[in-house]
Every structure is written in C-alpha cells, then in structure tokens.
C-alpha cells in the first residue's frame, strides 16, 4: 500500500516531510480529483501522502500585533463565517464562491495557494491583501510574499522539506476588500476571470489601492499601474479609471471557457464593476 502519513504534531509532520517528501494534503479538494483524473486513464496514484488534518494549530484565524494569521488549514467556510474587518470582504466573498458548500467546508486557504491554479479564487485576494506565506521546515520557518511564492503555472517556491503553515495578512486600518468572479454558471464553476481589490480611502479619495486579476495569466497578477492611477482619485469616479493599457501585463489564454479577447474585455469590465462597488 502506498505510504499515507497522518502525523499528530507539527514536529512529526515536518520530520516526515523532510524524510519522505510526501505530498501535503489538507482538505483534499484538489488532490482527490487529481487522483481520480489519473486513474481514469490507467495511471494509479503512487505519490506518498502527508495528511495534515490531525496536526494541531493549523486552523483558524487569529489577530496578531502586525495583523492576522490565517492557519494553513483554515477552510473557506471558516473564512466566510469568522467575524473579520472589511479588509477581508473580498476574501470572504471568494470563500462563498469556491465550488459548492461541500468544497467550502473542506478546501483550505493554503491548499488553494499551493495548487497555484491560475483560476484559484483565493490567490488574487491574497495578492490584494499583500499576504505573506509562512513556510515551515525542520530547519526553521521563513516568510515570503505570496507574489513571490507562486512562481508559475501551478508552480510554487515551496521547498522539498517545507509545509505551508499559515498566511499572514498585514493590518491595513480602514481598508476594504472586494472580489468579483465571472463563470459560466452559478455554482461549482471555475472562473473565466476574477478581480480582487483592497482599497483605502480618505475623505472620499483613494489613498491606496491594491488590485489583482486572476485567470487571465499563468499566475494571478497585481496591476501596479492601475493602482498608481487610482491614487487620489475620488472613490465615486474610481470605476472610470481602468483602461485596457492597465491590463497590458496580462496574457489571457483561449480555452474551453473563454477566448483571449473575451477575457481581456471581461477583465476590464470586472475591474470597473469591482471599483464601482466600493462607491456603492
């Protein structure tokens, strides 16, 4: 039988990860489908599994001196149902849009990040929240901005002995988050495109904006030029600012869900809707 480890402590988990390189599994909402997809065409699963579900201390959201710590295994439902400041409104909206309720009850924030799908609904929000990822190994713990952690299409900087143990969200007093997602049906839908923003305004003008687009490039991207263009803009006018040129760094593909051209247009429309929502 293929090795399946289910350690009861973080120390054991890290030791097993270092010793075996087993694949970390939390909610299983990506790994079990992958197993199924391979098996359908005669490729039995042979990768050892490191099940993190019994490791204490990986759940839940806690407030820290610098902001918030979201345990790696925190589920979408927990994110949606925890009382959090408006900064998290975008992430919480995404939490209600991932899969259906079943997946929201099992899928985890770190799992969404580590899978690093271009269409991962959590990722643009983490970028807009300026989140960093906490990576633990037997040799110690390091932190890295989410933007650096995802290195490419379904690729991350997770080192062989490491496990994601938390996400850290810096405090941003007065900032609000928003998220909009576009799919071809209501539930259980992979995004055609999505947009997330965290925005702080003072006296009706935008003091700071962090904006990210997902599913329009191999890795979800922040839009620094748009962010700069939004500074000092009246909130009520924010939706008029985005231009196609702000999206020049995106490289949307044509696939079964949408064409390149459509994604370009939709991304712009979503951005405008996203920003209009802040003024509403």
């Amino acid at each position: 039988m293929m090795p399946y480890h289910r350690p009861r402590s973080l120390a054991d988990a890290l030791a097993l990860r270092a010793a075996t390189g087993a694949l970390p599994l939390a909610g299983g909402t990506d790994i079990h489908p992958l197993r199924t997809a391979r098996a359908a065409w005669g490729e039995p699963w042979r990768t050892p599994i490191l099940d993190l579900s019994a490791v204490p201390g990986l759940d839940g959201i806690t407030e820290t001196a610098e902001g918030w710590r979201i345990g790696a295994r925190t589920t979408w439902t927990t994110i949606a149902e925890t009382s959090l400041p408006p900064l998290f409104d975008g992430l919480r909206a995404a939490a209600r849009e991932v899969g259906g309720r079943q997946v929201q009850n099992r899928g985890t924030i770190a799992g969404n990040l580590v899978t690093a799908s271009p269409a991962g609904d959590g990722i643009p929000n983490l970028l807009a929240l300026d989140a960093s990822v906490e990576l633990s190994a037997t040799t110690g713990t390091r932190r890295m901005p989410v933007a650096d952690f995802i290195t490419g299409y379904r690729a991350t900087a997770l080192a062989p002995g490491e496990i994601v143990t938390a996400l850290h969200i810096p405090r941003d007093d007065g900032a609000r988050g928003r998220f909009v997602k576009l799919g071809a049906r209501r539930y259980l839908v992979i995004s055609i495109a999505m947009a997330a923003a965290v925005l702080r305004s003072e006296d009706g003008r935008i003091a700071q904006a962090r904006i990210a687009i997902g599913a329009c490039s191999p890795v979800a991207q922040r839009l620094p030029e748009l962010e700069a263009a939004l500074r000092d803009v009246e909130l009520a006018r924010a939706a008029t600012v985005p231009r196609a040129a702000h999206l020049a760094t995106l490289a949307p593909i044509s696939d079964i869900r949408a064409s390149t051209e459509y994604r370009q247009n939709a991304a712009l429309a979503l951005l405008r809707d996203l920003l209009a929502g802040f003024a509403a």
Binding site: H32, P33, A40, W41, Q102, R106, R185, R186, Y187, A269
Partner: protein, 898 residues
C-alpha cells in the same frame, strides 16, 4: 484498521487510509446509500455530514474521517424524515441518484438555519448536481420541510391524480439499488483499458505474461469474444467492436478488459501493458464537417465517404417557394453529454444456461439481444435484470458494460462487476450529435410559410449507434410544428473519429429546432410581425397535413398552447420594454419557440406487451417491462392499469423490466412508454377486467373490489363474490400495442408516428451586455400532453427538460479529450434555473391510454430556441452557435455593433 463513527455506530474497517470515505462507506461498510457520481467533488452525489457539515465523501480520505461523526442517508433522524416526506410529496426525486446527496445537503442547511429563504436553500444545494428534476421541486421540498408543511398528497390515485411516485420511498431512504450497489462480495472487478488516441492502429504483445505479472484473473482482448465482436442499435449495422481489433476509431474506445481482484485491476498502469500504438491522423475537430471529402480517412469499409446514412423528405417544391420574405441560416451545435449522475455500473453472474447481467439500462430486451450475440448464446440464455437507473436520457439505450461483463463472467465462471469512472463514462459512451444545419424558410406577405428546406450534417462519431434514427427523425420534424406546403429536407450522418453520437432526449430535433425557430423569428422581423403572431398563424392544428403527408386527425394542441401563452407573452414583452427603457447594461429579452415531436419510433414497429395477473392468492401483478429511468413510468403505467381494471392502485404489485419475468415493453426512449406501454397496460387491464366480469356474469359498469382472495363484483342489481383460491388457475391477460404507422417512401411521405406532442415556451432572459452573460429568469411552458396521467410527474419532466434545454443553449459543450469531467463540462446547477410556469393543454389522443401521449422529450425541445430568441430580443444579435458561452455572445455583439 480505521475506526469510523457512522450514524452513531462505531465500525472498524480495513481500508486504505487514502481511499475516499465514499468508497469506504460503500465497499467497506455496505452503506451504499451514499452515491458516487464523479469522485472529484464535482457532483455532490456523495454528500454526507462530517461533524454536522456537508462534505463530498469522495474528497475525504478515510483516515480523515477517524474521530469525526459521519451522518449518511441511512441515518435515523426526524428532520431527515421530514425532508424525505417533503421530497416525495413534491416529486423531488426522479431517478433518485442525487437524492441522498441533496437530502444530506438540505439536512446540513436545516440544522444551521431553521427558516431559510430560497436563496439560502440554493446556496446550500448548489454543490449537488441533479440532471432530472431541474431543481425547482427540490428547492420547494426543502422549503416545505423547513416550514413543516409538506405538499398535500391526493387521496385517490386515479388517472389524473398527482400522486407521488410509487417507487419513491427507497429513493429517499437510501435503499434504492443502482448499478454499483448490488454486486456479490466475491465478484471480481473488471476495468477497461481504453485508447488514448482518436485513431490508431495497435498490436498486442504477450497478454498472458502481463496477466501473470499483474496478478490478474484475465486480460480480455478481441480474441476472447466468444460470439460476434460487434454491437450496434441498427439490426443490420453492428459496427462497434466490444474490444477493438487492431484499430481504434475514437479516444476512449475499449481495447482490453482487465479482470481480477479490485486491488489488482486498479494497480495496473495501463502504459505498462503490452500495447504498441501507431497513432494515425483522424477526423476530429473542425475536420468533422468535411468527413465525406475525397481525402478524408475512411473509418469503415461499409461506409464510402464516411456516410453512415442519409435521410430525406420532399413535399412540393421548396426551392421555388420564395415569396414576400425569406431567410437562410447556418446553425452549429456541439456534442452534449447526458451527464446522468450514475455512471454505468453493474455485474454479471454465470448461470447454468448462460449469463445474467444486472445493470442500469434503458433497454433490457435490446441489451439481451446484443449481449447474446456477443457471447454466442441464444437470447433466452441471457437474462437482463435492470437495476434502478440513475438517469439515462438516451445514454443508456446502447449497451456499454453488458457485453464485457457477460464475456468475463462466462470466461471465469465467477461474478464480475464493473463501475465506470466518470471520465470513462464521458469518454466512451454516446453523446448528442453535433450538427451543422443550413436551413431556409420562405413566407408570403401575411407571414404564411410557403417553403422550408434544411441540409443537416450530423457528426455521428466513430460508430453508428442511433445515428440513423437521428438522421431519419430530423427531416420529418425540421420544418417545425407549422403548416408548410413545400418542404425539402435532407440529412446525412457522417462517421468521424469523435466519440460515438447516439440517442439523447429528442434525437436531433432539439438541434434542428434551434435553426427553424431562428428562421421563424427572421421572417417575423422581416415582415414586422409579432413572433407569437407568426407562430399562431402557421401552427399545425387538427385537420392539417404535415410535411410527411400525414393528416393530424386528433390531439394537435399547438394552437391551444399558443393561446394559453398569449397573456404571458404580452406581459413579458411589456416587462422587457419597461425595463430596457431605463437599463442600458442589463437588458431583458423575451423569446418564444414551438416544437412538435412524434412519439415512438419513426415509421417502424415499436410494440409493447404488458401482462397482468390476478393470482389465486389474491395478488394482483402487472408484469411491466418498461424500465423506469426516473421519469416515472412505473407510477404512470400503474395508474393507467389500475384505472382500466377498476381496482385500486394500492392493490397492484409490479414486476418491472426483467427479461425473464416481464414481456418485452420495448425501450424507454422516444417518449413512448406512457403512450405505447401505457396503452398496452390499459388494454391488458381491460382484458383482465372483462374476464373478471365474465366470471361473475356482470356487465361493463360493475365495480370490482379485492379483499385477500375474495373478489367482489358489484353492479346495480347484484353482488357476486368469487374466492380466487378456489379457481383452477390464476387469471392472466396480456395485450400488445404497436402504434399504427405507415412506412415512409423515398420522399419521406407516410405516417411516421401515431401521435405527436406539441409545445410552446416563452423565455425571459437577462443579458449583461458588458460581460455578455445570460441569466434565464423565467420559462413559461404550454404543452399538449393529451392527458396528464400524473400531473406531478408531467411537471417533473417539463422542469427537467427545461433544465437540459437551458444547458444546451448556454453552457454544455463536450469536447473529446478535454471536457471529460463535470467541472469542465458544465450542466446547470440549482442556481441557474429560471422560474417555470406551466400551462398543461390536454387535447386527448384517441390512440393513447386515457388520451395520454409522450411528455419527456417535448419538454426539452423548445427551451434552447426560446432562450436564443430572447437573447436576440435583448441584444439584437442572432446567435447561431450553441452553447452561447459569454465569449461567443460577446463576439457576436461586437460584430453586430461594428
């Protein structure tokens, strides 16, 4: 060992810790009420509660369930009981395979929220897919249960009563047995090795060495097929091998069957098997429309230029029918997957005389014939026992697993079982035909249609399946339910290296209706006529002549359907106008479409035989060979038989669809079971009634009652009691009904069907003109069903048909090799459904039982064209390719503006 706490009971189970909990519940603990539809979290059929929260059991490693309280459909729980009762009363379970998952999702909700609103219910159920019901009755049932007020159930079960389905209890308590639920413990497992190539030659190496190396009981190849290695629907066209012989013609074609213990067959890496592939250029992608070109590869020696079949209808001179208005369109449709939530599954048992196959199916007698030929046995040596069928929609009309199971069980003299994965079900079983339709419609200045023509090309995939049925049905129906004096239709089904296309609810008519109804809108626009008005002006009615030359003598209720819809149509137009006057971005649109659909086979015999027996022990049994695939034929045919006999439905026991026990009722397809088998059941019941009356020398009007073995016959004058136990034999009556048709001549002239269903639908859509997304807000249906034997089940068919029509219009597109799962292939969810209102029109069909005719397919046909008509109304853009994915509508709107 892993310790699990399930429904309050502790279990020790030897399971792979990585095995999905759903698998351990089913195979380890025998709790088969939890269904597996995809093993990928895409369908929610396996939803259970884990510490009170709904989860997909297929996404939970068994090890992760240790220490958690698991609640499954088998649980005893008063709130769950309330939901069960509410589901039954609303007809919220059809095939029932999603029902356990739906119920668990609803239980999770009602435990969190005692008074949810509709949107909250949709959110809670959004993760469970249903392909039968269209969700609305499920949502209502959950709301009913929350309020503690289940829908009322009629006291009497007579024809016309909206009684809950007779086979519903097992569907809501988790005890219904589907294809994967019934295999004996000692059964070996079978796994099919499939071609990863659309077209390739292959050679097999040393299979015996591979068998030994992998510890298998057998590796079956084409050489091991004892009879004829060919199957197919058409009597003279058995073109599909059970296991390919040196060449494969589509991705997903079966090449080998591995048989052994489950662990052994699942451990085999298919790439390690001795198969040497030589991929060849195939006919796939956009090349399919030129499959009859000179330089196209030939798939079959029997089909020059890859032409499977041509269909034709000619009446008058359509090419010279031009008048005041004319329109021409080219419409393209995609493969559509049935997406029944139960993938193919079953098992076979060797028997002294042959083999018994126990599996989900729509057509037990056809399965028997196919299986017998493949295993080289006479038909009576093969017995087919249908399990409950977790959805069919045409996809389980062809054999899939049956021949393989039968071969393996006989070869190894052991029970053998198989469960298709979602991926192989989607890759290997039939689809709706993609179509490219070029059609024109001409009309005079008053909008009266003068001529219609269609050239239809159907991509039939690698094997014939039901391609000829599609190619022959479409020319008959293509001009729509309208009076058109000049018609010229032709169709061709072309072989390609795509997945075989076969039967799917409507047999090509849903595709052709998209083109036809678009043309009707074109003519209305050209002449400045209202879209309802032009349809009403041309609607086929009683006494009219169809393009086949058939006179509609009765039950032609389209004019009544349109009249019923007129207020809805006018209200929709008014609402659209008011809304759009102030809303530039989110625009509403109203659309309308009509349809007709011949019930039963096209100009071919399709009889049904029913037998009913009153036994000496007082049991009254209907031997009903019609497989209930969720649509409710067991209930409807039961209601018909009981009413015709004059005894209460509660007294009637049924034996359903077992080739050893029931006469042949034909296949469950073509909207024929209520009409054809219902009529046979009525005739059999009337014959039995006549014999019972004769027993008592009573007249026609006498009343029967049955109490144990005491049969009482009471008329105005006397009461006679017969003790059945004293009779020499059981009293049996049998009747066969074959709807009267006249074969079609070379021009498609004849009487192809004994009766037709008619319907019209109005769609109201909301289009975000910036994102080009479409939300269907409302569908109003008017459908002539002849007689609604059971209005609850009729409503269920209509809701489900609308849901599938919505999917066809907006989201469903099967692409071989690319959308072989239920997250890339999208079907509507609970949140995608519009409100649905229904006007039932009952224009009785004299041939049908109590006036009834078919319902199932007609419900789907008008939905997609009505939605497209509404999108056009909202945007000004006529879309000619489905599904209308946002990017397609966006591109069309951009082209329109330019």
């Amino acid at each position: 060992m892993i310790e699990l706490l399930v429904n309050g009971a502790r279990h020790e189970v030897a399971a792979d810790p990585f095995a999905p909990l759903s698998d351990t519940l089913r195979e380890g603990l025998g709790l088969t009420g939890t269904k597996e539809g995809c093993n990928a979290g895409d369908c929610g059929a396996c939803t259970v509660l884990m510490d009170g929260a709904q989860v997909c059991a297929c996404l939970v490693s068994t090890a992760q369930a240790e220490g958690a309280a698991i609640t499954t459909i088998e649980a005893a729980d008063p709130l769950l009981d309330a939901l069960r009762a509410a589901f039954l009363a609303r007809g919220a379970a059809q095939c029932g395979v999603c029902t356990p998952g739906m119920l668990m999702a609803a239980l999770d909700l009602l435990r969190r929220n005692v008074a949810p609103d509709r949107a909250t219910v949709e959110d809670a159920l959004g993760g469970v897919l249903c392909r039968c019901t269209g969700y609305l009755q499920i949502i209502e049932a959950v709301l009913d249960a929350a309020r503690g007020t289940p829908a009322p159930v009629p006291a009497r079960a007579s024809v016309g009563a909206a009684i809950p389905r007779l086979d519903g209890a097992a569907k809501v308590d988790g005890t219904e047995r589907y294809g994967a639920d019934t295999a004996p413990e000692d059964a070996l497992w079978l796994r099919v090795v499939r071609s990863p190539h659309a077209r390739a030659r292959f050679t097999l190496g040393d299979l015996e060495a591979a068998r030994a190396a992998h510890g298998l009981a057998a590796i079956l190849s084409a050489r091991d097929v004892p009879g004829v290695n060919a199957f197919g629907i058409m009597p003279n066209l058995k073109d599909q091998p059970v296991l390919a012989e040196g060449e494969v013609r589509f991705r997903g074609e079966a090449v080998l069957a591995l048989v052994g213990t489950r662990a052994a067959v699942e451990a085999v890496r298919h790439a390690d098997l001795p198969i040497a592939w030589e991929p060849l250029p195939g006919i796939t992608g956009t090349r399919v429309w030129q499959a009859d070109a000179d330089d196209a590869p030939q798939l079959h020696a029997h089909a020059p230029r890859n032409v499977l079949v041509r269909g034709r209808l000619a009446r008058g001179d359509a090419r010279r029918s031009g008048g005041a208005a004319g329109a021409l369109r080219v419409v393209e449709t995609s493969f559509v997957e049935h997406a029944y939530i139960e993938p193919e599954a079953g098992h076979a048992l060797p028997t002294p005389e042959g083999v018994t196959v126990i599996a989900c199916t729509q057509a037990p007698y056809m399965d028997r014939e196919e299986t017998a030929r493949v295993v080289g046995l006479p038909e009576p040596a093969v017995r087919i026992i249908p399990t409950a069928c977790g959805g069919g929609f045409g996809g389980k009309l062809d054999v899939s697993i049956q021949p393989l199971l039968a071969i393996a069980a006989r070869r190894l003299n052991r029970p053998v079982r198989v469960v298709y994965s979602r991926g192989e079900s989607m890759a290997s079983t039939t689809k709706r035909h993609p179509a490219r339709l070029t059609a024109f419609l001409n009309a005079d200045a008053e909008g009266r249609f003068t001529g219609f023509g269609m050239d239809a090309i159907f991509n039939t995939g690698a094997y014939a399946s039901w391609g000829p049925t599609v190619a022959n049905r479409v020319p008959v129906h293509a001009s729509g339910p309208y009076r058109v004096p000049n018609v010229a239709n032709q169709s061709v089904a072309l072989y390609t290296n795509d997945t075989p296309a076969g039967a799917f609810r409507g047999f090509g008519v849903p595709q052709s209706a998209i083109a036809t109804e678009c043309l009707v809108d074109d003519i209305a626009e050209e002449l400045g006529l209202d879209r309802w008005e032009i349809r009403r002006r041309n609607a086929l009615g009683k006494g009219d002549v169809t393009p086949s030359g058939q006179v509609l003598h009765a039950s032609a209720g389209l004019p009544a359907c349109l009249d019923a819809l007129k207020p809805d149509w006018e209200a929709a137009l008014a609402r659209v106008a008011a809304h759009n006057a102030t809303q530039p971005r989110e625009r509403l649109g109203a659309g309308i479409a009509c349809m007709w659909y011949g019930c039963g086979n096209t100009a071919m015999t399709n009889p049904s035989t029913m037998r009913i027996t009153l036994a000496r022990d007082g049991t009254l049994t209907l031997f009903n060979g019609a497989v209930d695939i969720g649509q409710g034929s067991t209930t409807v045919i039961g209601q018909i038989a009981a009413e015709a006999l004059g005894l209460p439905l509660a007294a009637l026991r049924q034996v359903v669809g077992d080739t050893a026990l029931t006469p042949d009722a034909g296949k469950t397809s073509a909207s024929r079971q209520t009409f054809v088998s219902g009529r046979a059941a009525a005739d059999a019941a009337k014959a039995l009634r006549a014999r019972l009356l004769a027993l008592a020398n009573a007249g026609d009007g006498a009343a029967l009652s049955l109490d144990g073995t005491r049969l009482t016959v009471r008329d105005a004058h006397t009461t006679r009691v017969t003790d059945l136990a004293a009779l020499e034999a059981d009293i049996t009556a049998e009747a066969r009904y074959d709807p009267p048709t006249v074969p079609l001549d070379a021009d498609g002239q004849g009487v192809p069907y004994a009766t037709y269903g008619f319907a019209a639908q109005v769609a109201l859509v909301r289009v975000d003109t910036v994102l080009a997304t479409v939300k269907v807000e409302e569908i109003v249906v008017a459908q002539d069903v002849g007689r609604a034997v059971n209005p609850l089940l009729v409503m269920g068919q209509i809701h489900g048909g609308v849901a599938q029509g919505l999917g066809l219009a907006l989201m469903e597109e099967f692409i071989p090799g690319r959308t072989e799962n239920l997250h890339d292939y999208l079907i509507p969810t609970a949140g995608d459904m519009p409100r649905i209102r229904i006007h039932l029109v009952e224009d009785p069909e004299p041939e049908g039982p109590f006036g009834a005719k078919g319902v199932g397919e007609p419900a789907l046909v008008p939905t997609a064209p009505a939605i497209l008509s509404a999108i056009r109304h909202a945007t000004g853009v006529c879309i000619t390719q489905v599904p209308v994915l946002p990017h397609r509508l966006h591109a069309a709107m951009k082209g329109h503006r330019a």
